[in-house]
Subunit: 319 residues, 2 copies
């Protein structure tokens, strides 16, 4: 009898869902709107209703489903499936795992969304089932997921892999977390734009000034585009942010000694313009044997990483 | 029938051995001299001979022994038990696991000595069987061991937990590893003495100057003793090194989110003179929720951590 895995990726705006075969084929994937409702059971109800309807469509019987794996934003207590805090969803100590389990009668596994995405990349994306992997997402913020000994590292209270909040600069720029100099203030799309704007007046000939005049602002994408044109300001900014990010990754690698370092998120669309200076910085700071054991790649699953990782979390527990 | 675990801790000068019950009682422990012999099988032969003799003494039959767990200095490939490199012992790609297994006919598990010591502290020392733990040893160098999801993190090629080589300072002091600004150049006993000596001429009233006149040098212990007497130079040095170490630990904790941070090695004998400023620094740099989930302790097993950790490695695999 064919068996299936359900992957769920809960975001602040949409919930992504997927039915995935045990071999890793996406049978179906779709989205529903996230209806936020503080501590109510709206979200688990919506998830189970959506999954039930599709089971019908695909004529999948419940005894063919090995379980539900779900990623949620925030601090997840993986042993109990309780979301200690998810600011975007208004949840505090929310028993997501228990509610989904009671609704579905299926085994349910919950982890942080960034960790689940790392697991997805490791299964069907750029990770190639590495036993030890570091995934970094460079978007509005900087997120991360760590896999050690083949398992997600979630930590004591769901805080492992919060790479964006490594302190990289004494008295650095203020971070949303209330502290200063976090990696996120430097290597996120937001950080790259901020640093560029701070320095732009010193570079009268930079093409980024024209872009700012034209669009009213400069984005991280503009900076990498200008870097490819050897713009002086863009070169300075890219060298700076990849230096700091390379140092952060070298220190992470000194802890977990990964074989794969997977870089995703919007900023990673710059591809070699990001990876080449980033790898150079990494090599400056990491022990040679750690460098030898590791390689960099760009994440390849995009928005599907979450549902695929959720499915793999089930597979890992059930097979 | 009573079952036993053999723990072995291979050092450059002595090899420590222990017979340990599955409940964690040390039945016997002793040392033999390390006879270095490049690629020869001297060391595994010596280990098995020593263990065999004691089995006789204690009337332990081989079928009562669950296995041998051994820690070796250097880069260990844990899956195969091959020591990729152990500079102190002259080993390169040395098949320690296989040799010990062939000699003994027992299951053999090998890991890095610092990792094994962390596992020992976690079983019978200060760790209380934490699922997620960071162990840091502040001695001549700075070593470390990471436990995540209850397991040692060894990494891709035996380099995980090389905490001493996190880069903490741009263009910092040269490290034995050939790079600059490693944590080891600052927070080891050697680093503390070096930093003190560099600053001593600026503090004409420091009691550390008298000590240097008397003994010809200043040690890390002298610095912490002077710190307890509120010596100005000692205060500056202790504040500096605990600030850097606290930042390093906060960044490690941001990756693995440990419940226990166990500090050992000679420098940890300073106890509160080290821990109080160290915890204050940690709190400056780590996310509040990470701080809440973690506590600092001093390692309690001393030189027995290695044999106990070796024994636990067997227990973990066999039970």
């Amino acid at each position: 009898m064919k068996k299936y895995l359900f992957g769920v990726d809960i975001g602040g705006t949409t919930i992504k869902l997927g039915i995935i075969s045990t071999e890793g084929h996406i049978i179906d994937k779709w989205e529903i709107t996230t209806k936020k409702g503080d501590q109510s059971d709206q979200i688990p109800n919506d998830i189970w209703e959506a999954l039930s309807l599709k089971m019908n469509d695909h004529q999948i019987d419940k005894n063919q489903v090995l379980g539900i794996g779900a990623g949620a934003p925030g601090f997840v207590m993986t042993e109990t499936g309780v979301i200690a805090q998810a600011v975007n969803l208004g949840w505090i100590d929310f028993p997501l795992g228990e509610l989904l389990k009671n609704l579905s009668g299926l085994p349910v596994y919950i982890d942080n969304d960034a960790n689940i995405a790392a697991l997805g990349e490791n299964w069907l994306g750029s990770g190639d089932l590495a036993e030890n992997l570091v995934a970094i997402t460079l978007g509005t913020g900087v997120g991360g997921g760590i896999i050690a000994n083949g398992q997600i590292v979630s930590g004591t209270n769901g805080m492992a892999g919060e790479i964006g909040h490594m302190t990289m600069q004494y008295n650095g720029a203020p971070c949303n977390c209330g502290r200063n100099g976090c990696l996120e203030t430097i290597a996120s799309a937001t950080g790259i734009a901020r640093i560029t704007n701070e320095r732009i007046d010193k570079y009268p000939n930079s093409i980024l000034r024209d872009i700012r005049s034209l669009k009213g602002k400069v984005t991280a994408k503009d900076v990498f585009d200008a870097y490819k044109e050897s713009d002086e300001l863009a070169t300075e900014v890219v060298n700076h942010i990849t230096d700091v990010l390379g140092l952060a990754i070298s220190n992470i690698a000194t802890i977990v000694n990964p074989s794969k370092i997977v870089v995703g998120g919007g900023v990673s669309k710059a591809k070699d313009a990001l990876l080449v200076p980033l790898e150079a910085a990494y090599k400056r700071y990491a022990l040679p044997r750690i460098v030898e054991g590791s390689s960099f790649t760009i994440a390849s699953l995009g928005n599907d990483a979450g549902i695929i990782g959720g499915a793999y979390l089930v597979k890992q527990h059930q097979l």
